[in-house]
Amino acid sequence: MSYVPNTPEEQQEMLASMGLSSIEDLLAPVPEDVRLGHPLDLPPALAEPDLRRLVSRMAARNKSLDTTISFLGAGTYDHAIPSVVPHLQRRSEFVTSYTPYQPEVSQGILQATYEFQTMVCQITGLDIANASLYDGATAMVEAVFIALGPGGRGEVVISQGVDPQYRRVLQTYAFARGFTIKEVATENGVTSLEELDAAVTPSTAAVIIQQPNFLGCVEDAHAIEAIAHKGKGIFITTITEPASLGVLASPGEYGADIAVGELMSFGNAMSYGAPALGFMAAKQKFMRLLPGRLVGQTVEEGGKKQTGYVLTLQTREQHIRRERATSNICTNQSLLAIGATIYMAAIGKQGFRELGELCLRKAHYAFRQITAVPGFEPVFQSPFFDEFVVRSPIPASRLERHLAQADIIGGYSLAESYPELENCILFCVTETRTREEIDTLVAALKEVQA
C-alpha cells in the first residue's frame, strides 16, 4: 500500500516536462559510493486489509485494561475518557496540522492551547503555564534548568518520594550538563523534613518534591515550602496524578514556584505510557524563562482589532536561541494538550472536584478492605490520595501470578526502586475501579491466605 498518488506514467511525464528522462537524473548528487546497492531488507509491502490483520493480531497479544482489572498507577493513571474528547480531538484539522506558524489559519490550535495554558493555571493555582512538554519527567528537568539558569551548573535537592523514573532522567541530564543532585530519603512514606532541612543550603538551586508522592502519600507541602525557601532556591513540585488537585491544596496554595507533571491521563489514551503530556506552570516572574511553546492573546494589525492568538516569546526552531539556549524544546504535545483541554472543559469545575473525591474515597475503601485481609499489612501511616502501599505476606512475584489467574493486574511492586520495601505493593484505585472489582481483588487476596 503506497501513499504516493502519481502513477509511474505521470512521474515520467513530470520528468519529461523538466527535460529529464529518469528519476536517476535527480539522484545525481548522491555519490555512487554512498548509494545503497540493494533494496532495504524489510518485509514486503502489505495491502491495508492484510496490514490491519497483522497489526491487530499483535495488539491482541497484549492484555488491554478493557479486559482485565488493574490496580496499577505508579505514575500512569487510568481515568475515564468522556466520549466527546476523542470525537473532537481527532478532528483532522487538529490532527494533521503542524505548529501554528501561520496563525491566520491556525486559530483553532492556538486558541485551544491558550485555553490549555489557562486551565493548567486554574488547576495548579499558579500564574502562567506553557503549551506542554514531552512528559512529566522531562518537564521536571526543564524546571531544574530554569532554576539552574544559563550554564546549568549547581545543586538540586530532590526527595526520594519523587517517581524513581523521574529521578533517573534527572541523573541523565545531570551527567550531560554537570549539575549535582542530592536525594532526600522518606520516612513513614513522606519526605523526611529533618533530612530535607539538612540538605538545603544557600547554594541549593532547587528543591523538588512530588505531591502526592510516588508512594501515594501526601506530603506536608506547607512545611516543605518553608524549608525549600530558606535559601534562594526555587521550590518545584511534581504532580503525576492530576486528579489529586481536585481535593488537595494546589501548588499555588502551598507556595510552589513551579509545578510540573503529567496530564496524559486527562482525556488521552494510556498507550503504554506515552505519548505523554508534560506540563509546566509557574509564578509570573518566570514568564520569560519558560521553555517550549507559549501562546499569547493579541489583536489584529490594522483596523479591525479582533482578538486572536499567536505563538509568542518564541523559541521555534528557526529562531530558537541557538547557542544561548536554556532548552532545546521544539516539538510539544499539542494534540494531547487539546485532549486534556477538552477533558477539563467536559468534566468542568464540579466534575474536577468530584473526580478527586471519587478517587480518594474508592482508594480508602480499597485500602481498608485489603488491609483487613490477614497478612496484608499497611506500610505507612501518612495520609494518601488514591495510591497506598501494602506489604504482601508472600513474595510479590508470586502474588502477581496468583492475581493473574483471576485476570487481575495487582499493584506495582516497589522493591526494584525501593529495596527496603520488599514485597511491598503500591495499589492504585481511581474512579474507574468499581466496588465490585475491588471486592474481586480482595477475594483473590483472601485466597492467598487460605
Partner: protein, 495 residues
C-alpha cells in the same frame, strides 16, 4: 470572526460529563485527609454543557488548517499525508489501553512491535541499534550528544567540548549542543555547492581537532541539497577523533537510496512524525528515535527490547555504561505503532518510491517557480528547496511573509519562511511525495499569480490574507505585553 473562549461560555452549575456514581461508603473528606492538605478553592474550570463543549471545539477545528484541508508545503517539516489506518491501529485497545508497568507477559505484542520497529529503523539508517525512547527530534539530538559524550568519556577524551554545526542547521542543533554542555562552532556553507565548506572545515579541524566532540549535519541539508562530499567530511571528522551526528529531519529524501550509516555517520535521529507519516498534531507528539553504530551501543538508554529463543519478548535493562533514562516509560508508543504500520504498509520498494517521489515533486515545483522566483541554490535539489522573495522585495517591497500570507488566501498553507538563516527572504518549500501533480501545478500557478500581483497590485499581497477568519496579527504586541492566560472579566474583542 472571533470564537469566544470556553471560559466565557456556560453558566454556573452547568456540566458536560457526569462522574460515575459513588459505589463505596461515603466519607467526609476531612475524615480521610488533614484539612490543611485540602484545596480551599475549587479550580475555576469552565462550567459548560456537552453541546457547548462539542460546538466550541468543533468551531475551533474549523478555524484550523491541516494536511487533510489542503497543500502544506512547509519546508523541513515534511507535511505528508497521514494514513488513517495508522490512527486505527494505534487506537486498538491492545495498544491504546495498556499500562507501561504491566508485566512483560501481558504486553508481548507491544514489545514485539518495538523490537521489530527498532530493527526496521536500523536497516533504513544503516545503524546497528536504535533506541525508540526520545520524544522528538530535538530530544533525539540531545540524547545522541549524550551518547557521544559518554563515549568520549569512556575513552578518557572527556575534554572534547566542541560541536561543529553548519550555518544552515536547524536551530535545535546548537541548542541541543549547548544543553549537552558543548560549545558550538559554526561551519560555513560553500556558496557554490550549498554543502559544507570543506576548506573552512579543514581550518577549524586544524585549529580545534582534539577538542572536537562531533559534527551535526543533515544530508540533504536544509537547502535541500545533497552534500556530495559527505564521505570526505566524515573522513576528516573521524580523523580528529570526532563523531558524526545525522539530523534525520530530512530523511524523507534518502530512504532506500542511501543511508546515514553508509555515509559515515555514527549517530542518527529519526523524526517519525516527518519521515514515517505520523501526524504532527498541531505541534506534537512526535518521536525521535536514535540509531547508533556498534561503538555507541553500550551507552544507549534503557530499557531495550529483547527477543528470546522461544519467541517471547522482554524488556532488558541497559548495561552499566548506559547514559540512563531520557524520559519516563518506553518512548512515544502510540507514535511508534503508527510508524510501524507505515513501514509495513510501504515495504522496501514503497519506501524508496517515497523518497524518489519526494525528490521528483520538489524538483518539479522548483522548475515551475524558477521563472518568477529566485532559487537560492539553482541546483538539483532533493526533497525540498529554498526559493526567495529577494526579487519581489527589491522590486515592490513584497516580503517572504507577504507571499506566505497571500498563499493562505488560496486555501494553501505557506512554506517555511526566513529559514535557513543564511538565505534572505527565504521560502523553504517541501511538497512531499503525497501530493498530486495537479496540486503542484496549482501551487505553481498561484505562486506565479502572486508574483504577477506583486508587479501589478502589491498592496493586495502586502495586506494579505484577506479570506481567512482573521487578518494578520500583532506579534509585537503579543511579545511586549504577553497575555498567556485568560483571567475572569477578560473578554475577546470583536470587529
Amino acid at each position: 470572526s472571533v470564537e469566544k473562549l470556553i471560559f466565557e461560555k456556560g453558566a454556573p452549575g452547568r456540566r458536560a460529563t457526569n462522574m460515575p456514581a459513588l459505589d463505596v461508603p461515603m466519607e467526609e473528606l476531612d475524615e480521610l485527609l488533614p484539612s490543611k492538605m485540602l484545596r480551599s478553592e475549587p479550580a475555576p474550570l469552565p462550567e459548560v454543557s456537552e453541546i457547548e463543549v462539542v460546538r466550541h471545539y468543533t468551531h475551533l477545528s474549523q478555524r484550523n488548517f491541516g494536511v487533510d484541508s489542503g497543500f502544506y508545503p512547509l519546508g523541513s517539516c515534511t507535511m505528508k499525508y497521514n494514513p488513517k489506518i495508522n490512527e486505527d491501529m494505534a487506537g486498538l485497545p491492545g495498544f491504546g489501553h495498556i499500562h507501561p508497568l504491566q508485566p512483560d507477559t501481558t504486553v508481548q505484542g507491544a514489545i514485539q512491535l518495538v523490537y521489530e520497529l527498532e530493527r526496521y529503523l536500523a536497516e533504513i539508517s544503516g545503524m546497528v541499534r536504535v533506541t525508540l525512547q526520545p520524544s522528538a527530534g530535538a530530544h533525539g539530538e540531545l540524547t545522541g550528544l549524550m551518547l557521544i559524550k559518554a563515549y568520549h568519556q569512556s575513552r578518557n577524551e572527556g575534554s572534547r567540548n566542541l560541536v561543529l554545526i553548519p550555518d544552515n542547521a536547524h536551530g535545535t542543533n546548537p541548542a541541543s549542543a549547548t544543553l549537552a554542555d558543548y560549545k558550538v562552532v559554526e561551519v560555513k556553507t560553500n556558496p557554490q555547492t550549498g554543502g559544507v565548506d570543506l576548506e573552512h572545515l579543514h581550518t577549524l579541524l586544524e585549529k580545534h581537532g582534539p577538542s572536537v566532540a562531533a559534527i551535526m549535519l543533515t544530508n540533504p541539508n536544509t537547502l535541500g541539497l545533497f552534500d556530495s562530499n559527505i564521505l570526505e567530511v566524515a573522513r576528516q571528522i573521524h580523523e580528529v577523533g570526532g563523531q558524526l551526528y545525522y539530523d534525520g529531519a530530512n530523511a524523507n529524501a534518502v530512504m532506500g537510496i542511501t543511508r546515514p550509516g553508509d555515509m559515515g555517520f555514527d549517530v542518527v535521529h529519526f523524526n517519525l512524525h516527518k519521515t514515517c507519516s505520523t501526524p504532527h498534531g498541531g505541534g506534537g507528539p512526535g518521536a525521535g528515535p536514535i540509531g547508533v553504530k556498534s561503538h555507541l551501543v553500550p551507552f544507549l538508554p534503557g530499557p531495550l527490547p529483547a527477543k528470546h529463543g522461544d519467541g517471547t519478548y522482554s524488556w532488558e535493562d541497559a548495561g552499566p555504561q548506559s547514559i540512563g533514562k531520557v524520559r519516563a516509560n518506553k518512548g512515544n508508543f502510540g507514535v511508534l505503532v503508527r510508524a510501524y504500520t507505515y513501514i509495513r504498509s510501504n515495504g522496501p520498494d514503497g519506501l524508496r518510491s517515497v523518497s524518489e517521489s519526494a525528490i521528483l515533486n520538489a524538483n518539479y515545483v522548483k522548475h515551475g517557480l524558477a521563472e518568477e522566483y529566485e532559487i537560492a541554490y539553482p541546483l538539483i535539489c532533493q526533497h525540498e528547496f529554498v526559493a526567495t522573495a529577494r526579487r519581489q522585495k527589491q522590486e515592490a517591497g513584497v516580503t517572504a511573509t507577504d507571499i506566505a500570507k497571500r498563499l493562505l488566501d488560496f486555501g494553501m498553507y505557506a512554506p517555511t519562511t526566513y529559514f535557513p538563516l543564511i538565505v534572505p527572504e527565504a521560502l523553504m518549500i517541501e511538497p512531499t511525495e503525497t501530493e498530486t501533480r495537479e496540486t503542484l501545478d496549482e501551487f505553481i500557478q498561484v505562486m506565479k499569480q502572486i508574483a504577477e500581483e506583486t508587479r501589478t497590485t502589491p498592496e493586495v499581497v502586502k495586506t494579505a490574507p484577506h479570506t481567512t477568519v482573521i487578518g494578520r496579527l500583532d506579534q509585537a504586541l503579543a511579545a511586549r505585553k504577553p497575555n498567556l492566560r485568560w483571567e475572569p472579566g477578560q473578554e475577546v474583542t470583536h470587529a
